[in-house]
Amino acid sequence: MSAASIAVAALLALARTGSETAPAVAPDLAAWQGGELVALQAAEVHLGDGTVHRPGIVLLQDGKVVAAGQGLPLPAGGRVIDCGEAVITPGLVDAACQLGTTSLFGSAEQASEVIPHLDTADAIDFFSRDFIELAAGGVTTVYVTGEASAVISARGAAVKTAGPLAERRLAAKPCVKVTLGPESSGRGVFNRQPSRFGGGASFANRRPTTRMGAAWVFRKAFHDTIAWRDSGRPSNDGLEPAAMAALGEVLAGATALRMQVREAMDFDTTARLADEFGLKYSIEYGTEAAQRLDLLARRAVPVIFGPVRASDSNFESFESAAPALETPKLLAEKGIPFCLTASDGSGDGGLARQAGLAIRFGLDRARALRAVTVDAAAICGLDQRVGRLAPGLDADLVVWNGAPFDDASKPVLVLIHGRPVVDPQGRFRKENS
């Protein structure tokens, strides 16, 4: 074992015991990159597909996982990092992140209700502190989803939370976001002004202000697209050809459709609208999914569930008073494909916390891990890149100082593409980004 790896091991030991003492030796993590073969040993290694090795080894090289399992040969002359009693999991994946854009509503294009031709990648601030906080919380890949103020919003974009810029972007399955509940009408900036300043609906601004209006925008956009596709008729609602071309991809099944739905009645509207145009879809957030389990199971609709939010006196979901805390357990029992999201949460309100709450309210630990790794990656079409510790996949992993998702546990080392981006002192390693 080299001096550097001893230093890392010592730091990990400090982190495990929760010592507040500042370590005297800085880890030599910066030099750890390039073609060197690195082995991480730990008491537990979770591969992400449900397999657990106790103890286990992960071999990394050139930013990829070479092998993961038990009793693997340690590299001769390579670097061996002994993580002792720590637990290694794949890096976490959030399939419906709302962080990292240029400002709170920075990705909100208010000029049209139908913007499927726009790309959320153009709204991402790759230097945002949000990404550093996500990485520190063990989240290594996020799918930044379209903003909710347009009825048919933009394509989402998948990015790594750290690493060199050239390696940050991932090719997710193309996916357009739709918001049918009250949010699209409520968030429209042209609707939010007091009426004396021209707010509210008028002949000059005809955004939908109701559920009915939002559903009609959706329906009309697809009707216009079909007419344009079949007979070249331009939209009489001013939809740009680029927007209709993007919706044509949705009709053809080449682009996925993701419906932001929170309240129970919107699950029904979504199903009805999808049937009118023969569309497949997934559900984002799904706050009241527990009230529509049969509908979701019958149609095998994937649900990107969350976040549930805790307060001192009671648990309450974002918009609904209905308890949502047992929903992950219920989704699992019903065989509905699902993953978890923290939406705009990071740190203690982040994805690990969502997994922890799901476990506390009945979801088994292995399934909770899948719900924030491989299952989330699969819903985004990223499961051949991230979400598991398997040969050829990106070497994105988290070393936890205890059982993952327990309140007492935290990430003590986070690797993206095999590079340490968060060190055992919780510091973000900018030189690796």
Partner: protein, 376 residues
């Protein structure tokens, strides 16, 4: 909106910086007889094109242009002026000012207005220009404002006309772009960077002609700078960054990718972090120029503070004139003291970076700018 049509219109505007057409030999001889005698200035030091302070000598200006630099004797019949201790350099070029604008320089009707030219909002009689000229500024860019993603053509303005009064438009300069948040959020499409970038990319990809100089792109944060590098790089269009405050987080991204950066103004309240940007860019071989809304004294303060924070003095002097002229695409005409360039120069009684140094003489197009006292 049909931005591409407007873009074609913008390209139809004549470029700035063209040298005057040569007259025929016979006409030239008649005109020469009517010309005033050449002006010869003797100074102790001359700032070289690279910004270094070199040996002095005679500088001869004839017919509004520099004829020779550093000669040992004035030509016969020249009006000779000697400046003991004098340091001559090319007149300052501030590429990003709003000097003498008649009304707003932002046209809020649309977010993409490449057809707009700031020179059309130019008031030549405005006292701003004479004030700028007296502090050593001989050329300014009149820039469209920050409210549009594509703001329009920069006006290139000489701060004094041939009679030493007012100012003259020398042409239409490069386009000004804004990639900060300023163009967004109003009741106008698009309301977001996400909505704007596809339109911008289409405009940049569809125009084939090259405009003189470098597009001036306002970008503040590291990510806005990234967007500039990617968007203009993909279109193969040269660009300079306007006031890129957080370029220190994106040095690797821009190295070798940008034509330069317009920094400042700096003053005694500027943070050390902001001041150090100049030397960081210089170390990365990125050309820099300074802006201070056409105030030569503020430009010198800006340059001096950048020097205090690590910028090589030579580069600070080049940043006051040569780099700005290059970014505006008029470096064949202005920005350096070389034979053939316009007679735009300023003589100080010391190093221009020494704030105690005073302006002794300013020539714009070979004509002396009257001091305040002389004008009274």
């Amino acid at each position: 909106m049909q931005p591409l049509v407007h873009f074609a219109l913008a390209l139809a505007l004549p470029p700035g910086g063209a040298a005057p057409a040569a007259a025929s030999a016979a006409a030239g001889a008649r005109v020469a007889a009517l010309q005033p005698p050449p002006l010869a200035l003797r100074v102790d030091s001359i700032v070289q094109p690279d910004g270094a302070i070199g040996p002095g000598g005679w500088i001869v200006v004839r017919n509004g242009r520099i004829e020779s630099v550093g000669g040992g004797a004035p030509p016969a019949g020249a009006a000779a002026l000697e400046f003991a201790g004098g340091v001559a350099m090319a007149g300052f070029v501030d590429v990003a000012t709003v000097l003498g604008a008649g009304g707003q320089l932002s046209e809020p009707a649309r977010a993409f207005t490449p057809e707009i030219a700031a020179a059309d909002a130019f008031d030549g009689d405005h006292s701003d220009f004479l004030a700028a000229a007296r502090t050593g500024v001989t050329t300014v860019g009149l820039v469209p404002g920050a409210s549009n993603v594509v703001g329009g053509r920069i006006g290139i303005v000489r701060t004094s006309d041939d009679d030493g009064r007012g100012a003259a438009v020398a042409g239409h300069g490069p386009l000004r772009f804004t990639l900060t948040e300023e163009p967004f959020g109003g009741l106008r499409a698009p309301t977001s960077r996400m909505g704007a970038l596809p339109i911008l990319r289409e405009m940049l990809a569809n125009q084939k002609m090259a405009l003189a100089g470098s597009s001036l792109v306002a970008a503040d944060t590291a990510d806005q700078i990234r967007i500039a590098v990617e968007t203009f790089g993909a279109a193969g269009r040269p660009f300079a960054l306007l006031q890129p405050a957080r370029i220190d987080e994106a040095i690797e991204l821009v190295t070798g990718k940008t034509a330069g950066a317009v920094l400042g103004p700096f003053d005694l309240d500027s943070s050390e972090r902001d001041l150090r940007v100049s030397s960081l860019l210089a170390a990365a071989q990125i050309p820099i120029t300074f802006t201070a809304n056409g105030d030569g004294n503020a430009l010198r303060l800006t340059a001096a503070l950048a020097t205090r924070s690590g910028l090589e003095a030579r580069l600070a002097r080049a940043a006051l004139s040569a780099t700005g002229a290059r970014l505006l695409g008029i470096d064949g005409d202005a920005g350096t003291l070389e034979p053939g360039r316009r007679g735009d120069l300023v003589v100080f009684d010391g190093d221009p970076l020494d704030l105690a140094a005073q302006v002794q003489l300013v020539l714009v197009g070979g004509a002396a700018v009257a001091t305040e006292e002389e004008a009274r």
